[in-house]
């Protein structure tokens, strides 16, 4: 079922946890709410579930306004960060809990629980107690319990936050498969950008209770709408300069900025893999010194410093790296092959150009 949130605001005392947030989760979608801790994403989830009451704004599930419905009446499935399994009940009874509340008959309950145990690869564990399970198993019991009464939407708070890295990777892949099989509208919260990129069909990025950007993982990565998103998602070099004759000047670097007026202060961002570095001082136009080389497993990261003291990160795949013989401290040449002029933060210098509209810049300065 579709979830829609309009102008959602939640204040705790004098602080605003969620400020005027609107978005839509389409039917059958798996959407990730991404943001650092304290950004209000969990509050949004709890507001949709009915575990918190909004200060203002509306929540719609399947086109119906649910503000006045209690959490019990909303028919949602909720997966808590620390599982929140009923410790005094067996796995079977945990999963059956919601069905007993809904007064299903015994036969149907047993069938549904067995079906879910099989779906969650928990066969044979029905008579165990939560403390007799591993972290990954508990998480799957929690998801099974939430799905048992056939909720219209599934809400998950940091679903993989409490399991170790290896299990987390397997659970992610499993969740994607599960979602493909069941196709239930799902919304999950995470602070892990990698997890959000991998699992979600679409991401909503939060910061300080505000929605920063909504889009596909590729959109959010390649076309960050705000400086926050640019910094939060992946790694990005961000430099600041002043426009002179249609170019943003950052030390000896120049980035074309057509349409911006002279004297304006702008931020320019570029991903490390758009910074090309060579030993040969004449290969690229810009000069710098190699400060560090980091081995990342799949690639190398180079840190270079220009004569003006600007420090930039570059990323290079292994094959390319092996063609060179980099020595830390040596002089190198470099070029920036792609960059973006980052949208102005509100309250910044006034401009007659549409804020928030990024200008692609495919040029080498």
């Amino acid at each position: 079922m579709k979830i829609e949130v309009r102008g959602l605001t939640k204040k705790f005392g004098s602080g605003t946890a969620v400020g005027n947030v609107s978005f839509v989760v389409n039917e059958g979608e798996l959407l990730g709410l991404l943001g650092p801790s304290g950004s209000g994403k969990t509050t949004v989830l709890r507001l949709i579930a009915g575990l918190e009451v909004p200060t203002s704004g509306d929540i719609f599930i399947d086109g119906k306004r649910v503000n006045d419905l209690t959490v019990q009446e909303r028919n949602i499935g909720f997966v808590f960060q620390h599982y929140a399994l009923f410790k005094h009940l067996t796995v079977f009874d945990n999963i059956a809990f919601g069905l007993k509340i809904k007064k299903w008959n015994r036969h149907d309950i047993e069938q549904r629980v067995l079906e879910l145990l099989a779906l969650m690869s928990l066969d044979g564990l029905g008579r165990r107690y939560p403390h007799q399970l591993s972290g990954g198993q508990r998480q799957r019991v929690a998801i099974a319990r939430a799905l048992a009464p056939r909720p219209s939407v599934l809400l998950m708070d940091e679903p993989f936050g409490a399991v170790d890295a290896k299990v987390r990777q397997e659970l992610r892949e499993w969740l994607i498969r599960l979602h493909t099989d069941l196709n239930v509208t799902s919304l999950f919260v995470t602070h892990d950008q990698e997890e959000a990129m991998e699992v979600s069909g679409r991401i909503i990025v939060f910061s300080k209770g505000k929605l920063e950007q909504a889009g596909s993982p590729a959109d959010v990565y390649e076309e960050p709408a705000t400086e926050f998103v640019a910094r939060f998602i992946g790694s990005m070099n961000i430099v600041e300069g002043i426009v002179r004759r249609g170019q943003v000047q950052v030390g000896s670097l120049e980035f074309p900025a057509p349409g911006f007026s002279d004297g304006q202060k702008l931020q320019v961002g570029f991903r490390p893999y758009y910074v090309k570095v060579a030993e040969d001082a004449t290969r690229y136009r810009q000069q710098a010194k190699l400060r560090h080389v980091y081995f990342l497993g799949v690639a190398y990261r180079l840190e270079i410093e220009t004569a003006d003291g600007l420090v930039l990160r570059s990323r290079m795949n292994k094959e390319e790296f092996r063609r060179y013989r980099f020595v830390v401290g040596q002089a190198v040449s470099f070029a920036v092959t792609h960059f973006r002029i980052l949208p102005q933060e509100s309250g910044g210098p006034s401009t007659d150009i549409e804020a928030g509209k990024p200008i692609p810049g495919p040029l080498t300065p």
Partner: protein
């Protein structure tokens, strides 16, 4: 045998020896004394009308006091754990007072409040309820001395109970009332049972406050402990021993039951002599068996 194993054996022997010396030995002596005169005598002592009445009165009033403290102790523990209010720290400190006050003093305090000369006492008397030298006095005294048990046993388990579990029940459609009975109560049951059983056992043995509040009226307000005291005073140690042993037996059965009931499902008793700790529960798991899909 390594020195580590020797040390651990010594520690365990010391613990077992301590319990034997302090608790088992006196118990055995009492038991021996009671059976020395024969089984028939034991039955005879207990079925003496005054003894039987005292025993029955004790069990009855202790049960009532336990039930009351179970309900109000649970509520108090919930309030102390879940709600912030001015003076909470003071209330929390007051809870332990009955442990600190000599029970005779407790009896005097109750007598002062509900006595015929006090305002409350007079008012209750007019309403037809006599507290002093009557059964309500016994129950009041028991309530006072056992009050901390339920609260103190429940507090830690309530603090350990995550709100998540109750919220999870809400999202599954359970009403607050249903959630209380199906999630909260079962989760804190071990603590609640401990509190209830200790309350009952403690109430069975209470002497000091009851003797002040209820006096020593045979067949009416004479509880078992007071009866035992009376028999000793009147040079009849045999009857005193028999009644004591029965009270002890009841307490012991209750405590055994408690130990049995509060064990976590699927858990075993700790072993007295165990050389190596084996890994018990499964616990290991490689997340998702991929074959399932």
């Amino acid at each position: 045998m390594t020195s580590h194993m020797l040390l651990s054996l010594a520690l365990r022997s010391a613990a077992v020896g301590y319990v034997l010396l302090l608790i088992f030995l006196p118990l055995a002596a009492l038991g021996q004394q009671s059976v020395a005169a024969g089984w028939d005598r034991f039955i005879q002592d207990l079925s003496a009308p005054q003894a039987a009445a005292a025993l029955w009165l004790t069990v009855e009033t202790a049960a009532i006091a336990t039930a009351i403290n179970a309900v109000f102790g649970t509520l108090s523990a919930l309030v102390l754990v879940r709600y912030e209010f001015p003076g909470r720290w003071l209330l929390n400190a007051l809870v332990d007072l009955p442990f600190a006050i000599p029970t005779l003093v407790a009896g005097l305090m109750i007598a002062a409040i509900y006595g015929p000369t006090s305002v409350i006492g007079t008012w209750l008397q007019q309403g037809g309820l006599t507290v002093l030298y009557n059964q309500p006095g016994i129950i009041l005294a028991m309530l006072f001395v056992t009050m901390p048990f339920t609260i103190r046993s429940l507090q830690p388990v309530l603090m350990g109970l995550e709100r998540d579990q109750e919220e999870a029940a809400f999202t599954l459609g359970a009403s607050p009332w249903m959630t209380f009975w199906k999630v909260t109560v079962p989760s804190v049951l071990p603590g609640l049972l401990t509190g209830v059983f200790l309350t009952f056992v403690r109430a069975l043995g209470e002497f000091g406050s009851i003797v002040i509040v209820a006096g020593n009226i045979p067949m009416k307000t004479q509880v078992a402990s007071v009866y035992v005291y009376g028999e000793i005073e009147s040079y009849n140690p045999q009857a005193a021993t028999s009644v004591s042993v029965l009270i002890l037996l009841i307490s012991f059965v209750v405590l055994l039951l408690l130990e049995r009931l509060t064990r976590r499902p699927g858990e075993r008793l700790p072993q007295l002599f165990r050389w190596s700790s084996r890994n018990e529960q499964p616990g290991q798991d490689s997340a998702v068996p991929t074959a399932a899909h």
